[in-house]
């Protein structure tokens, strides 16, 4: 199999996408000028910045974002307090017409959010009438303080159903419902959306959070002239949350809707992980905020090479491929055990493995002060593998399974003589401690 055999295109609710990579509804999809550039870069479609019906004037807070780093790494997370589009509806619709005329092969998804039934219907209708190929219902904007809007709807499940029903009654194009992650179980609201007629679910919107506090002003960031707010966290930091919700919905048989995965995607590996857990398209914002539209080139090339390597010709065949191996923790085979294995050929002698094993694991390492190298006491290794996470060199520490006869040493008890003084009786089910 070679590159030419690979088909990255995917069918999502009957709409054909050249590849699974879309812009999500956000600052990166704010205007046709920007979206056109993204299409040129290789993105197959866009969820346009959520439309405003002009009834409520939108003014974005300033400053509207705060980058959140880890060590020297910037933008591990992003905090934002953006609102929906602040452009006049006419400008946005004119941009729709432009994009459809100039890029008929690309998919235009209109994101809408209403404050009332009528407004939902109105925005759905004008979107369809001006060329939108699909709708995404924004039930999850985290910055709406008004009841009955944004994430408040996403948490009031009957409203999800009601508004979805309204929209479905007045348009014929497919409708995606976008979920907030700021709940416990996403399958529940997703099923409400399905009952209202939603054709697909997208998730996740930003996670409600506070990532940093301005220590001089004692104000959460972004610090809007002395006031901060719980707001939307996005970026690589939230990928585990997004993957979890997508997999929950993918495994939910009552739902059985196509999924569009969002949350912390920057590379083809991130995108593929969403796909393997059941998403058939993926959407990106923070990755673009960090690196620009050009990252899609690497998503396309990277995913293509992976598919060649695995002899998988169609993206569709990757969708949900990891789901059969995703089970609850009680399904683990606990009889099989292993430990870390050390090959010190390229060790630089930093000893971070020693420190973390001593302070956070089984104290299975000793430190040779002369040679400045760790020595593994094999049968004390817990196989947590944290040593390998801090090791600065590839290939020194690996995992190896041990034969069934292998036994791990118990953690040491400091003073066995104290056993005689222990005040306890072994626990018996049903046993009550009398007072």
């Amino acid at each position: 199999m070679n590159k030419n055999d690979i088909d990255l295109s995917i069918d999502f609710c009957g709409v054909k996408f050249k590849n699974p990579f879309l812009l999500s509804s956000s600052p990166v999809s704010n205007s046709a000028e920007m979206v056109a550039r993204s299409f040129e870069a290789g993105w197959s479609g866009v969820v346009f910045k959520t439309l405003n019906s002009d009834t409520t004037p939108i003014i974005h807070p300033s400053p509207r974002m705060n980058g959140y780093g880890y060590g020297n790494k910037k933008l591990v997370g992003l905090q934002n307090v953006e609102m929906i589009s602040d452009r006049p509806l006419k400008d946005n619709l004119a941009d729709f017409l432009y994009l459809k005329k100039k890029y008929p092969g690309h998919v235009l998804i209109s994101s809408i959010m209403g404050f009332s039934n009528d407004e939902w219907a109105y925005l759905a209708k004008v979107s369809q009438d001006n060329g939108a190929d699909m709708l995404e219902l924004n039930f999850s904007c985290p910055h709406m303080a008004v009841e009955g809007a944004g994430h408040h709807v996403g948490k009031a499940f009957d409203l999800i159903e009601k508004f979805t029903t309204t929209v479905k009654q007045c348009v014929s194009i497919p409708v995606i419902a976008k979920m907030t992650p700021n709940i416990t179980d996403m399958t529940e609201p997703a099923i409400y959306a399905k009952q209202g007629g939603a054709d697909a679910i997208s998730a996740i919107n930003t996670v409600s959070g506070i990532s940093q506090i301005d220590l001089d002003g004692f104000t959460p960031k972004p610090n809007i002239f002395g006031i901060g707010s719980v707001s939307g966290t996005s970026g690589p930091a939230i990928k585990p949350i997004g993957l979890r919700f997508i997999s929950d919905m993918a495994k939910c048989e009552d739902l059985s809707l196509p999924l569009s995965g969002i949350g912390g995607i920057e590379t083809w590996v991130d995108a593929l992980e969403y796909i393997l857990l059941g998403a058939s398209t993926i959407q990106v914002t923070t990755g673009i905020i960090h690196y620009g539209y050009g990252i899609v080139e690497d998503m396309i090339e990277g995913l293509t090479d992976f598919m060649v390597e695995k002899s998988i010709a169609k993206v569709q065949d990757l969708v949900g491929k990891a789901l059969p191996n995703l089970k609850t923790t009680d399904k683990f085979d606990l009889k099989r055990q292993g430990r870390a294995e050390y090959d010190l050929t390229n060790c630089v002698g930093c000893g971070q493995c020693y420190t973390v094993c001593r302070d956070a694991a089984g104290f299975a390492l000793e430190w040779d002060q002369e040679k400045r190298r760790p020595i593994l006491n094999e049968d004390k290794c817990l196989s947590c593998m944290i040593c390998s996470f801090v090791c600065p060199v590839s290939g020194i520490i690996s995992y190896t399974e041990m034969p069934g006869t292998w036994k791990r040493q118990d953690a040491c008890v400091m003073d066995r003589f104290l056993e005689t003084q222990i005040k306890y009786q072994p626990f018996n089910a049903g046993h009550l401690i009398s007072s």
Binding site: N72, V348, G351, Q352, T355
Partner: protein, 441 residues
């Protein structure tokens, strides 16, 4: 662009640090600086703690961050070298000290100076470090400095482009804030004057006068020939303007191959010399200057005239130097561990036309320096005999450190001696106090 780190750059460099379990960098500093500790603190956003770690150990931590040959000290054993390159410890250290000032962080509370008076002679790195350590312990310290301003080699021996005088000023402020008194323009020069301080209320004396008598190559030193001390101190002694005229668009030769020679060459270039020649009689690798200093000189377009031995100066009709008679050399056969020495090549004499010469072949103690402290034993180079682990001289109550004991050495070695001296003086005075109490009792 400023080659010094800003916050982001220092942070990024610190992020590369592997935080070694038994940080080898922390064993490489003559003054016991603990980079493993201050970089970890920096990385854990404990920035003031990082600055405190540096400054409490070394009052001249910023200066050392700039001036230390870190490549062969703390950075030498850095485990990151095995991955790609060592952590730039000196640059992080310099940043942290500077950052501390920018945020107005004061490491030291002003101590109560209730203990004995101690005199320090010389305000170079050894004297400053000794004075600061003693003040931290509560001694009333006076530093005597013969020049008009304090700093010693940091002011008069290092060109500003390597170590700015504004930076020195801020390092000095920390010492002044500790309550150390400076008597500048006060030369200790009379016979026995250093020892006599013990009779003038000072209970101990630390001699840290350094080496300031520049060696010369020939007996004759015609006009237009400077030594490194005269040349590098010119910005602070009022002779800079004259020198500028003599150097700008002219051909300058610096004789020597050490760090000071590199500084002189760089300084001449910064004054606008047309061509600067470094004349050295041995090979490039034998030049004692640090590798990065040599590379910087090369990049600075300094011409390296290696394997050339100066034989004499030529002068014009006004008696001003106009050329150097040189003879080419080759290196002798290697004999065991001994370094190969230069041998003159027969009939290879030539003349380098030149407008100005700087001799930078090393400094020594002044000939009559011992007259200030006749009771102190010296060696044949007039260096004071003192143990490096206690700075104690042959005379009770007189301690010494820095170049006047070691011979030419690094700033960080002098800092180390200052600390050692302060601890030794403290022990000495504690013992003395105990004796007095016993007598009284």
């Amino acid at each position: 662009m400023d080659k010094r780190y800003d916050f982001t750059q220092a942070w990024a460099e610190a992020d590369r640090c592997l935080l070694c379990h038994d940080a080898p960098c922390s064993k490489g500093c003559p003054a016991n600086t603990d980079p493993g500790k201050f970089i970890k603190k920096f990385k854990m956003q404990n920035i003031k703690g990082a600055i405190r770690t540096i400054k409490e150990n070394n009052i001249l931590g910023g200066a050392c961050g700039i001036l230390c040959p870190t490549a062969r000290l703390c950075e030498k054993e850095c485990a990151s070298s095995l991955l790609d390159r060592p952590i730039q410890i000196g640059k992080i250290q310099e940043f942290l000290v500077r950052h501390g000032r920018e945020i107005g962080f004061k490491v030291f509370e002003k101590p109560e100076l209730t203990l004995e008076k101690v005199a320090v002679i010389g305000s170079g790195p050894a004297g400053l470090s000794c004075g600061a350590e003693l003040a931290k312990k509560g001694y009333a310290v006076t530093i005597f400095e013969k020049m008009d301003e304090p700093g010693g080699v940091l002011r008069y021996g290092v060109p500003s482009y390597r170590f700015s005088k504004e930076y020195l000023k801020t390092e000095l402020e920390d010492i002044i804030n500790l309550g150390v008194k400076f008597e500048c323009g006060h030369a200790i020069k009379k016979d026995s004057e250093a020892e006599d301080l013990l009779n003038k209320g000072f209970r101990a004396v630390f001699i840290a006068t350094g080496l300031w008598d520049a060696a010369s190559i020939f007996d004759e030193k015609p006009e237009g020939v400077y030594n490194s001390v005269e040349f590098l101190s010119s910005p602070h002694t009022g002779s800079l303007d004259i020198l500028k005229d003599q150097v700008k668009d002219k051909k300058v030769a610096v004789i020597g191959g050490g760090s000071v020679a590199m500084d002189c060459a760089g300084f001449a270039a910064s004054l606008g010399a047309k061509d600067v020649y470094l004349v050295y009689r041995r090979s490039f690798s034998q030049m004692p200057a640090e590798k990065d200093e040599k590379m910087e000189s090369l990049e600075n377009d300094i011409h390296f005239l290696i394997l050339n031995q100066p034989k004499a100066y030529l002068t014009n009709d006004k008696g001003v130097v106009s050329g150097i008679k040189l003879v080419r050399t080759e290196l002798s056969q290697a004999q065991g561990a001994q370094r190969r020495s230069p041998i003159e090549i027969k009939d290879s004499q030539w003349v380098l036309d030149i407008d100005l010469v700087v001799e930078a072949i090393g400094n020594k103690a002044f000939k009559d320096s011992n007259s200030l402290y006749p009771g102190v034993d010296i060696d044949d180079k007039k260096l004071i005999k003192a143990e490096l682990d206690n700075c104690q001289t042959s005379k009770q109550g007189i301690f010494a450190g820095g170049d006047i004991v070691r011979g030419p050495a690094l700033v960080v070695n002098a800092v180390c001696d200052g600390k050692t001296g302060a601890n030794a003086i403290d022990s000495y005075l504690v013992r003395r106090r105990a004796k007095l109490t016993t007598k009284e009792g």
